[in-house]
Symmetry: C2
């Protein structure tokens, strides 16, 4: 695999331009207005998988957005790597906070990326990281170095909870058979501190609706005498955390995995500067659950965040209205052993119970997924660790991520194989935020590292 | 004045059509996109005042929307009535709750208005009620029955706090000299229960902004470790009321006028059905300050309502974002003796004080006005009372309103005259709500009653 570095050197302009073309398509899965763009993106991914050397590439329609499947089988007796990624992206808003157009990618240097970073929605999450695997395959095929079989499953609904992927997987268990699942949809600690994500948080996402009077009312004539849905919703949301920022939903913590002091001590060894952390997002203090560090709060502890709230008059100027309805989108990040459907039900029951007289409350479960932990003694982890050692010259640190890839636990359940999370992004890449970007160095480093994983994984399976 | 009934009978079609033309112009003062429509409405009012018989009609530009001034002076030694009204309207949204177009008026019957009601934004508040005075003048001039002098001051910023009217009044004190100010911008208890509004609540309207991190963050990677502005804003709003729904802002109640048990007992005599009230807005229970009745809560007690709230992702589907900012529009209804500027300052100080570390809070005062109480032994009140007796056959009930006409207390201060609030609307007219309407019967009854006020007020001043 040593020729990978020269191959990248020769082709990097093309690697960047192909990714930029992919990033130009606004594949926003959450917004039905972009349904056709999502489809166009799936077709672009299919084309690139064919060009990279897959023998079979298929677009599988689902009840939602399509799944792109590709494969290159060289010998049924060799191990098979299943690459999972997604070609859909988060909505770009708030638009006014972008310094450049979210779907008109530009490359410019940043403090962390002096060699330049690609700025676009999806640059890191996940088009850029997914495409590293396509280019790694291209190298191994063109240079006859592919040591095992490879399959690709690239979906278009990850940002909306992979609603229909389970159906696809259950319907295609044999086709998807593999020895390890490889995903690049996470980050690493720093460019000089490689890490492999060994844990993910689960997710429960709900939308709530509080209804008071049957129509908007004049806040002068009715104010003070009728429950105001916004005041009530605020009260209800506020009550979901106690004064120590523990979540108050009965039973919420029952199954939460408690880490040993030894494990927590090991976590605390990961390089981290609270001052740099606060400075990077311009806050004067962190905020969270009593008794846990920042890195614990955003990885091994469950959370409850309001992701959106709206109600009443939100236009220019003033309107003295007592609104009929108020709404909120609320998501809970869950840790291993918490079942997302059980937590969703606990939330629903509790939220309906705390509604005062005078309002009606609806809780609409949106989507969710289980948390995940991968063992570090597996062949997959060992192969990945060796690959990083080869290209970074350092042993990667196993790291719990606060993010969720709801589908990972389903893979294990349905396909009986472990997932390895080789992420090359940085926390500062602003995924899900305005000005999302992906370092050119990181992109190329990913393409360089992935073939070594194939090599070592195949060797470990001999 | 007895010929007024036949005059109305002869001209009522025209009276309705002229009002409908006025209602077609979307004079939304809160939204700068409608600036020209507001101007067009001012010109239409000017034309109608000229046609009705004013000798002088002027449009006075302000830093905001213009004021229309008109007068008919018949004898400097006779008393002068100053009519105040407004030609601007509330924003119509939420549009999807309107059964007909807000600016395409239609007349249809309702349970309370079997003779039909005009459905349009501004039908009751205040184009319809203001226009009653124009038509009453037309009658008195055409039939040579005008017993005194009359002046009109019709503004275009009432729905946004009459921001620039004070400047106009201070600059035109002599021009506006009068013996009584007459306003129809309130309601009466029922068609068979005439009432005169003797009190109005004051108002303080603010907009708050809570800022956490300097950009939207991924709720998985940062959730639980960083203050979420929506969670925080909800907590802060919730804390503004205690468990008895008393407002918790220090000093908020210091100057609140406490009514005697006798006064409260008198108020309680006004016909009121809690069941009908709840049924009319489809709620299973009322909600408000411990220790006060519904009619007290919405008239003699101060309140705090969130009129609008927004933050994070409010589009279709799901976005797992920890937003940078959250916003709310909050208004407080105040009672006589509470100073709106002092209350605004108390709110600002308190709200900034309760902000936790990790967020920054901005409070932007929007507008406000003082509460008002008018004595029932004044000549103005007596004349109004006799006018209702004449046309309704019943003595009107003095009634406190929960609404605000911020400018009324300024009139007394600057022009040294009392205001009489002769309102002909009903609580069910849905002002500030979708499907605002004004009963045809109420509209014509107003036109019929107003001339009698002029007659009795002139007689009482002889």
């Amino acid at each position: 695999m040593d020729s990978i570095t020269s191959y990248i050197e020769t082709n990097k302009e093309r690697f960047l331009n192909e990714l930029i073309d992919l990033l130009k398509i606004p594949s926003i899965s959450a917004d039905s207005a972009y349904k056709n763009d999502v489809k166009t993106t799936a077709e672009a991914v299919k084309t690139q998988l064919e060009l990279a050397g897959c023998d079979v590439v298929e677009i599988h329609p689902t009840k939602g957005h399509p799944v792109v499947y590709g494969e290159k089988i060289i010998d049924k007796n060799l191990p098979t790597v299943l690459v999972y990624g997604h070609y859909d992206v988060q909505p770009p808003d708030p638009m006014d906070l972008w310094d450049s157009e979210p779907f008109n990618p530009i490359i410019k240097p940043t403090d962390r990326h002096p060699e330049g970073a690609i700025f676009a929605r999806g640059a890191c999450d996940d088009k850029g990281q997914m495409y590293m695997h396509v280019k790694a395959l291209e190298y191994m095929v063109k240079e006859q170095k592919l040591p095992c079989n490879v399959k690709f499953m690239i979906e278009g609904e990850e940002e909306v909870g992979s609603e229909h992927l389970a159906d696809f997987i259950k319907a295609n268990r044999d086709k998807l058979q593999n020895d390890v699942i490889l995903i690049s949809d996470t980050g690493m600690i720093a460019k000089d501190v490689p890490s492999i994500t060994t844990g993910l948080r689960g997710l429960s996402y709900v939308e709530v609706e509080v209804t008071g009077p049957n129509r908007d009312l004049h806040s002068g004539l009715y104010g003070g005498a009728v429950a105001n849905p916004i005041n009530i919703l605020s009260k209800m949301i506020a009550s979901l955390h106690d004064e120590n920022n523990h979540i108050t939903i009965p039973g919420f913590y029952d199954k939460v995995e408690e880490l040993s002091n030894e494990e927590r001590a090991k976590m605390a060894e990961a390089p981290f500067s609270l001052d740099k952390y606060k400075a990077s997002i311009d806050i004067d203090a962190v905020y969270g659950e009593e008794g846990f560090s920042t890195n614990e709060r955003n990885s091994i502890r469950p959370t409850l965040d309001v992701n959106g709230i709206w109600g009443g008059y939100i236009g220019e100027g003033a309107k003295t209205v007592l609104p009929s309805k108020a709404f909120a989108k609320i998501s809970m990040r869950l840790v291993p052993n918490q079942d997302w459907q059980e937590i969703t039900q606990l939330f629903k029951t509790h939220f309906e119970n705390i509604a005062p007289k005078g309002v009606r409350v609806k809780v609409n479960p949106h989507h969710g997924g289980q948390g995940y932990v991968t063992p570090i003694d597996s062949k997959g982890y060992q192969a990945a660790s060796k690959a990083y050692e080869k290209t970074f010259g350092k042993t990667p640190i196993p790291q719990r991520s606060g993010g969720s890839i709801p589908i990972v636990s389903l893979f294990e359940q349905e396909l009986k194989s472990k997932t390895i999370l080789m992420g090359f992004g940085l926390d500062s890449d602003a995924i899900h935020s305005p000005n999302e970007h992906f370092g050119v160095w990181n992109y190329l480093k990913g393409i360089e590292t992935i073939p070594w994983f194939y090599k070592y994984f195949t060797e470990l399976n001999n």
